[in-house]
Chain length 401, copies 4
Amino acid sequence: MTATDTTARGGASADARADVVAALRAQTIEVPSWAFGNSGTRFKVFPHAGVPRDPYEKLADAGQVNLYTGIAPRVSLHIPWDKVEDYDDLARHAKEQGVSIGAINSNLFQDDDYMLGSLTHASPRIRAKAVAHHLECIEIMRATGSRDLKIWLPDGTNYPGQDSISGRQDRLAESLAEIYAALGADQRLILEYKFFEPYTYTMDIPDWGTSLLHCLALGERAMVVLDTGHHAPNTNIEFIVAQLLRAGRLGAFDFNSRFYADDDMMVGAADPFQLFRIMYEITSNGALAADSGVSFMLDQNHNIEPKIQGQIRSIMNIQEATAKALLVDAEALLAAQLAGDVLGANSLFMDAYNTDVRPLLADIRAAQGLAPDPIAAFTASGYVAKVAAERVGGTQAGWGA
Amino acid sequence: MTATDTTARGGASADARADVVAALRAQTIEVPSWAFGNSGTRFKVFPHAGVPRDPYEKLADAGQVNLYTGIAPRVSLHIPWDKVEDYDDLARHAKEQGVSIGAINSNLFQDDDYMLGSLTHASPRIRAKAVAHHLECIEIMRATGSRDLKIWLPDGTNYPGQDSISGRQDRLAESLAEIYAALGADQRLILEYKFFEPYTYTMDIPDWGTSLLHCLALGERAMVVLDTGHHAPNTNIEFIVAQLLRAGRLGAFDFNSRFYADDDMMVGAADPFQLFRIMYEITSNGALAADSGVSFMLDQNHNIEPKIQGQIRSIMNIQEATAKALLVDAEALLAAQLAGDVLGANSLFMDAYNTDVRPLLADIRAAQGLAPDPIAAFTASGYVAKVAAERVGGTQAGWGA
Amino acid sequence: MTATDTTARGGASADARADVVAALRAQTIEVPSWAFGNSGTRFKVFPHAGVPRDPYEKLADAGQVNLYTGIAPRVSLHIPWDKVEDYDDLARHAKEQGVSIGAINSNLFQDDDYMLGSLTHASPRIRAKAVAHHLECIEIMRATGSRDLKIWLPDGTNYPGQDSISGRQDRLAESLAEIYAALGADQRLILEYKFFEPYTYTMDIPDWGTSLLHCLALGERAMVVLDTGHHAPNTNIEFIVAQLLRAGRLGAFDFNSRFYADDDMMVGAADPFQLFRIMYEITSNGALAADSGVSFMLDQNHNIEPKIQGQIRSIMNIQEATAKALLVDAEALLAAQLAGDVLGANSLFMDAYNTDVRPLLADIRAAQGLAPDPIAAFTASGYVAKVAAERVGGTQAGWGA
Amino acid sequence: MTATDTTARGGASADARADVVAALRAQTIEVPSWAFGNSGTRFKVFPHAGVPRDPYEKLADAGQVNLYTGIAPRVSLHIPWDKVEDYDDLARHAKEQGVSIGAINSNLFQDDDYMLGSLTHASPRIRAKAVAHHLECIEIMRATGSRDLKIWLPDGTNYPGQDSISGRQDRLAESLAEIYAALGADQRLILEYKFFEPYTYTMDIPDWGTSLLHCLALGERAMVVLDTGHHAPNTNIEFIVAQLLRAGRLGAFDFNSRFYADDDMMVGAADPFQLFRIMYEITSNGALAADSGVSFMLDQNHNIEPKIQGQIRSIMNIQEATAKALLVDAEALLAAQLAGDVLGANSLFMDAYNTDVRPLLADIRAAQGLAPDPIAAFTASGYVAKVAAERVGGTQAGWGA
């Protein structure tokens, strides 16, 4: 089978196929530095051989992901895990690995002071400390050329009555305003929400509505981050994507997949059809383009699978979902929708989903000089054995370091 | 035990007790006309003897609820179920029963035209029809002196691809704007959200964020309605209450309870502690007062239990939750919260919840000349047997009529 | 692309392909008579033109499903909805339509007596009535040659304290034993479980464990029915399939799909990957074969989409999931699993899922003299317009009749 | 108010009150040694001052819980965390603290070998290692006089296809049989189930049905452990309690509470009404008695609240729920249930729940020479400050040690 056959069955003409290929070639996905370190559950972190011991080694691994996929040119950093002496040097090293620095992620969950909150804490001293941490992150953004300050607020409470829900909102609004004021004119604050965890009764930003209200209060450069694992059971995530795009406030995705909670598995592993529906909202609303303001990022753990390959696989899964979304015959679909043809519209949608786009993507990779099967090519390269042999001693990177 | 003992254990002084009593005496709850008709599941509607056959009989039943509880002076109507020839006459009848007309509820789910949507339908004709229905409702509001136009939008889709998520939002925004423009200066549009049902893939207003965005676009007299049964599993509802109050956009509650989906059981039956937490957000944020703009309404089915008693029981459950919420020792709680005393703050909260407030409410009823046990008194009145004997022939009211 | 290409990519040799084709050709799916009648939600049943008015017309519609798919030779009946004067005549009519009678479904949810229970009711009279209904069903099984008595027990309670959980189990066990005793030696009792609905606090058979315990107590011809829409959120259904197969007690599937509750949508519409995983447990555990004792049935509503086409689409979706499951390279997968190659095993599994099997199924249909696209062929036949014109007057079939 | 008033309102006579008091005085609850160590989430473990550094100190803390509540005479141990040189000495030390050794818990989640499973692992070597660990635990049971070997199996998979669901069941059955065979005639194997975590796709014992099937296969001394936090969203836990009691296979509870996942919060903190309903199934089915074979244990984390007080509070919450359950007027309830009086039966149930039983429990404590408010008395004792001063240096106990 050739890719032409594929797209033909998807209903696209040769011109349309060219558009699909162009869109896929323009797509980029940002990978997180922490995906290359060890991670786990509250019960156990299983160590893996060859795991990076510092930000330089993480960037080297990220460079491999980009080398074999061709669409992962940026790496998110996490502060303080990725603090270095010389950010110019780090940026230079990144460039050598073929990547650049993406979003800067702050950390509000690992300081003993933050047990009862950070930006929301009742104590002005602790709030000031948490704000100051973000001012440091903004400095690092300037040093590394990063555009986005990403804030995941882990704050919340475990017990009813433990703290005032609205009091915490007020303190949060004040803290965020201080941070926002420190941003440069070309920098953004992107604000994540999460349904639960680490706290078990309230989260201070549990849903997209809360994140959006804070963004609206802050200003135009405050945008919502949608992590695909951060919702209540059964939530329709593509609806939220559409809603945030309609409001002009979707700043970024944290992609991963889950069956239960915030499982942080490889993207598309749990529900590839959901991933397709999400990407369809992106493509059909014109948000795939580089200038859409939507940043596509991974955020996941590879607790039991190899980490670099896990990143590559996630990227391939997003590419396949994107390709399928682009293959939806928009004209025919609109006609069926306007005609109230429920089954016909659904069939057109499923036709694209049921298409095997792997040959198309293999063609695109080949045209770029990449191996058609990135995981096989990476595995064959011997990189894993090489770093396992080299990275001996020191402390493996992980969430705690 | 006396009520004094109760409040004493709750930590309140005599002055505080007077405040609690005053707040409880000022509380009002609106009952829905449809709660007195037959209802059921998609599998079966079980008929009950004595069920009203027209709006006049529904108001008579609602009058009984108010007669025995003393805090249910308003009745929501549902159009077209409660359409009559002469609304002046209906209002006069309501007054005779000791009640007045509350919110007017529109109906967007029972016309064959609305199978694929109403205010969101792809067809301009059907959207215009749905808008016109609301203009009729506004006329009825004028005729009955009703302040609130309540819209529960049942629109949605069942299958991925069936319709455009954002296209439907655009059409919804347009339809709502037409309705809002027809409201009088002292009238409000209150907009409900619902997670799922009757549609199974998307709902066009599935969450508080979507409802709020539409309200913000409409204007200051558009407010969100929170139905306690309309959320994803595990959603923290009191957080949403706090958030909507903070935004100044909580217009009304539809109270009921649920274990699974939108079960529409008696209020407080499934999770009385959740009801307490919700009422605590109300009382602690000053939203119980009559001038807060928050309307407290019931919306439930009594499929297998007697309907009038089901309404009375729900009201009593809300009263008890409210009394407990008012008994929280605010000063001590704030001190514990500011001190980071997790267990102490939770204990103070639970102390109020664990208080038996039934004696206090019995005292308040007695002071108002009401029987201390409203259900026992109603049962003893013989009303049920009387209407069962009288209401013979005709068609019992229900969701379909 | 040819089907050969497809299977080649799935990793199967020519011999393996022949096995896949043989297994797909042997697969049969039973359709429910009630799927051709009107259905809906508690809010509204939308009528459709041409809907059958009696069991004969339902069988005619079911005959169409089999005519175009070639794998739907049996039709489940629902008593009393499908009661007729002469079952020999009905069986003869079925045969003329190319189908035969499958399972007999009892109805325990539409009699006023059953408001508080049927087989579990506190009243011996009502339990006896419910048992007697099943004895009548067994008579109909004899008259129609049906093997399976399917019991979905809708019994439950809405309020804590309403009835004794264990008392109801005892009464249920007794009622089921009476029914089981009346079965012939070649007949089975297949017992469904459901998480919630129509009751909202307890269901008397809410989970597979409860159903299995009753089956174990009854005897070897009592088997569990798994309805894919009858589980708690996030439940791993394929695990239950594997578990029931291991216990030798999986009697049948009721296939449908859902995003939220028991949505009863077309099979595979909500989560095609889940359907694939379920079918993989079937194929990999040898339970697809006709003699496995597992009956594959549809149970769904077509509230807004055309009903015959909805059934055809569901069957096609099951076929595609089955084909993909059969394409899993079992040998390679086992090797990866034994080697602890998490990513490799998952990749092999996904390779089969990502294969486009529509060409393969089109080839199989062509080889059987069927149209490659069953829905297009059925639509082109003009049957819908014909029955819409013919079926005028009378009462359309639905859940209430 | 006196306790007599309380029980009077609950509808109980003086004789009945004596029965209630007797049942409450006979109740015992087992506490886990690990609750006194540090715990947390995957994001952070917050250290607390005064946390024990070895099993001896844990037992001392547990002794405090029993000293102030009077109903916590046993302590569960966790192996290897609580391994010591001399178990006689440990038992002697326990006795000095006023407690004895309860269940022995094995650990299958912290060895690097167990990344892909323990009792279910594909490797015979690793399964043998996991079995051997349990043989060691059985030795410790003999040394400490423990009756129950508690197995929580954390095994599972993260990705579809990663391993064979039924293959893992077969290996599990084999491993469990080896362990069971090593038990003494007066020892039990109690087997826990868990919906998800630490694995995110399958758990090898995800539900009560799976645990029960294994217990049935093992023999009469294999019983199911119900952890209240280990179920799918919306699961009716009291139904499972009733079902396991009916099957004679409820071996033990792990009590805790949760809003979302396995949050392991203080018992009764999230849903006190659910706790009451659970305890009602216990009391109404005669399973509170010491000879019922049901062991009542706590299993929770105190991540942000003080640990000893968290245990005391949990025990008090269970006591209150038990007292309320005992106050249900069984005779009147049965009459209402048999009469089909839905509202009346629910009201009787709620009357007991709404009773303030704190005075009754204070009376019982006073009669035992205990302080009426255990937390206040413990706080006043100065124990916390004392151990914080004494326990300096060494390594605080936690899940990792």
